[in-house]
Symmetry: D5
Subunit: 145 residues, 10 copies
């Protein structure tokens, strides 16, 4: 799905005043996954695509775009948007510590970013609400050959 199709979807969502959460409920998916779909980072099946295009009042031809295998990866080598950069910073600052703890708990391997889910929740807090990000990825052990 190219950037133009993505733009059409996002504009329609805005015009309909729908949230990603509402769209997610419609097709039984998490709001982050739906957002990933709208930014061309995930792939819907035909039923999901049809439902979304329909609720947004868009041409069914767009449904085809939603079922393409996307070319993933959104942006510049180092992100400049402050919100996205913070995740880059977390990787820079906590990357080695996470690696050490994951190895200690699981052995040599990685957390999958494919067999993976990511949720975002709002944690009310009197000192200021908090953003809670929960990632869950299958542990993949290095195969010895």
């Amino acid at each position: 799905m190219d950037a133009a199709a993505s733009r059409v979807l996002l504009d329609a969502k805005r015009a309909k005043r729908l949230t990603f959460a509402e769209l997610g409920e419609l097709i039984g998916r998490d709001e982050v996954w739906v957002a990933a779909l709208f930014y061309g980072q995930a792939r819907a099946d035909e039923t999901e695509a049809a439902k979304l295009v329909s609720v947004l009042g868009l041409d069914q031809a767009l449904a085809i775009a939603l079922t393409e295998f996307p070319d993933k990866g959104l942006g510049p080598v180092v992100p400049t948007d402050p919100l996205i950069y913070r995740f880059y910073e977390i990787m820079q600052v906590y990357g080695m510590p996470m690696k050490a703890v994951i190895h200690e708990k699981f052995g040599d391997g990685i957390m999958s970013a494919i067999d993976f889910s990511l949720h975002i929740d709002k944690e009310p807090d009197p000192k200021g609400d908090r953003v809670k990000v929960t990632m869950s990825g299958k542990f993949l052990a290095y195969k010895k050959f």
Copy 2:
């Protein structure tokens, strides 16, 4: 704390067969935070530093290194280690979707990577255990001026 001091700490931990979780219990901190400390990405107070150096059987002079303000950020622009790279990939693939959902839920602002915590848990799963990463950062709204 420089790389040499970091190496000494990690070697002593290995020789004592201590885990980051055990060291964390000793000082009442999460294992990830302790790992961050050992990799020169966090700063201990004098009590914490003294306890850690003591249990590792190291010279108290090292405790001073643990209380320095670290120069943070560990590595190359794009990480090459596969485990760490996956977090870079998550930022590349899910960065814009996370941005969209956080803005939808909180407004214009970011998740703090400073007033922030990160935990790693093992989720047993018959299809293969999963790595669960939980991040919690204060939402910081953009100040209008």
Copy 3:
């Protein structure tokens, strides 16, 4: 807000011979914040957007663009424009010294660039006027977890 919308706003401002300071007074914001808004680096609320679009004699449809969550970060990795480069140079030359002094005064943490304001004043000086830039960001202490 995309670059085309930004261009329309800047051209209208030029045609109306309005300054950022005048536009700032109109909505009770600093001229730098208004400039940030016009360059797609900040987000107005609906009232602010309507007022600005109106005084510039532009279509209210543009007001919607001003209320989008912007993708922030303007430019190349190292800026080539000499005026902007000087701020990059200040970061290169005075970055570590500022870090040392801020840590000495506040402890381990950072100056927020989100809960943040920036003003520019003209300091008359017989040897040549001076540009005064005043930044004020909340100190965010590193949370231990």
Copy 4:
């Protein structure tokens, strides 16, 4: 001054429990300038160098290092330390807006980063103390030739 000399100075300062502010008072300079000197980003005259080396209890040979013309610029193209990165982010986000406002107020030219000073103050605030950074640089108008 090379990194080793810088390290010796910083270690001595730490051992003597002296702040940059105290060292600045000693020679009548701002704490930020003294920090710049210690990180090899500024140049002392012989009197200043002698006083500093003396109060730190170091060999006068080090005073020569402090009077060398430094090779300035401290670090990686994009800083990874979060505190320093925020200044890079400010340049990315507010660079064009600052340029627009400075041109509007002063005409075509730049703020000098040479005929320049930088101060850091603590602003007490019930919602959390703030870091105030004040820069003052001479406006340099582009010469037409």
Copy 5:
């Protein structure tokens, strides 16, 4: 395992005139995996490490290095060695075609580089022997969440 330990292992292998294939037979692993181990890109268990260190006539202390969790990824962003570069070129030239064919055959997902093996064989050919590289990685389907 650091570069110095890697050098010691490779020098001992050379001095003993042992091939990676012979070392692989000793521990029941493929020659490529053993080479990966020697270059600090894989992790042996204690038995494997002890056997290898022993046959190479090296100190058992080196066996510990072989059982560390390695920091993987060897080199520059774009490799300059012509043999290694050809694999970069294959990714540049055939990356999108491989992506298209794998998606066509398997759906949305990737070939794992962790649950993965790689073998190198010599294919005799009258027009010049050929290098045969066989990779086998588990297909990982993108999880919808």
Copy 6:
């Protein structure tokens, strides 16, 4: 062949619900080679081009584009698409080990990426199907001169 022509070919293939394997059978080539052709990374002769354009129901003018000498190399320095990145990662992690084993088996030289073929097969596996990639490139010995 430019990106627009590539897009037309891929859209026609999709509309006709043809696989690369079916197109490959039509002209007696491997599906990966056909995919390379469609992405502008290989060059067809006139007969091949005519057959493909015909079965896709496209204008014969496109056949000329398929017989141009392509400018090869598809993308960014480090790929961001996860599927393609894994091949970059394999080069980063196994590049030196492959080099060592190829030199051990063949002497000083490289595997050609020109006199080269690449096949992708599906290996059924009860624990999850596997992607098998088989590369075969002529060994080219360094000429001494």
Copy 7:
């Protein structure tokens, strides 16, 4: 001034067979400064802009473009055009020597690139004419603060 406006100016200059020197005489500026203006690297006042647009037979609307504050800096990080690259090479080869000599002659500071002029002359020479480039920039001494 954008690249399209620049193109129009350069094409008109070519069509009128005017040199930068002749245009410079018209407004009392150096030919290099006029070239900088045409490439969007300098800013004319309204009189200069009107004269130039008039002699080139262009629409007065273009005069507005010439009076904008330009975004300066023309090109890639390392220039590829051989003529421009030689100035990059001079900076690479003679940068440190020039720094040393300027410090020796002037003290700690820089040559301004803003309060600056640059002229190009032809030096006839029997062994081949020479290009003479004369730069003159105000010395700016580092302010101690």
Copy 8:
């Protein structure tokens, strides 16, 4: 000549309180050329080398280093030192204008950076002394073949 030899020469020059201008007079060369030699960017003949080493009171073995063919090019891709950066900025801002004027005056070709000289003079000026840099390079016309 490596960096260590360069350091020895510069330290000796400092200790003897000699300027590059004085050393230049000794061997009949410009001060910039002597500085280039000391930074390993030029090559002396044996007589020049012997004289310089002698006046600096250094071992004649260093004279050999001064007669080596240097590997030229001093530093990072984009210089961070403000003095040197200004020459990079001049290339960024005035590169295309200089190219246009040189082509207009000389035709298609370049200014040589090899058959080249560079002088630095101090221009007294009541508004502040100026740095004058004069470059002279042979014009090299592109050969048609």
Copy 9:
């Protein structure tokens, strides 16, 4: 000459089934030089331009484009096309050896890439034809000043 003009020339050449060698004969230039001209890397005089445009059956307006001073340098920092990359690789592998031999034979200086010619010949060889590239550039000795 921009990329569009280049495309028109190459398409016309293809349609007329003319080789660069034939075009070269027409104007008495080498085929490589003519190719350089068509790719916007060289500049024709008016006679050459007129002849070429005429034989290609194109509008004489294109002849003007061929006489512009081109902005040279074609592509990405590291080329991805395999044929062009091999010349980058030759520079990486044989750059220092060539430097050493040229200095040994000629002294301190370079081979000009301006007063330069380049020819490509086919060397028949029973083991496979060879590409012969002959470069001839004037030796330019470093001027001492």
Copy 10:
């Protein structure tokens, strides 16, 4: 072979006042190939290595270093040494033209940089001697699969 061994070889060659041409005659190789060997870019057999080490009066242990499989590729992404840069520039300026001519003469494929030789000759010329570089590489046609 590491840089230290390379240094020893080059210093011994210098001390013995031997040229690469003389060393080449000793083992029947071209001077460029010998230089490549000395810079760690080629691999000698044992006889060649022994002869070279012997004539240079060095320890036979160095002969082993000369028979290692070198990690090839010498330097920075874009070379800064002017002599080597010119070859990078030739690739930038003439890369596409060479590609076009080679394809026209040979079809789709490349010139090998492995089955390859490179010679450097001095062409006397009254207007200044010329450097002649002759490359000969086997044409490798793209294999269709």
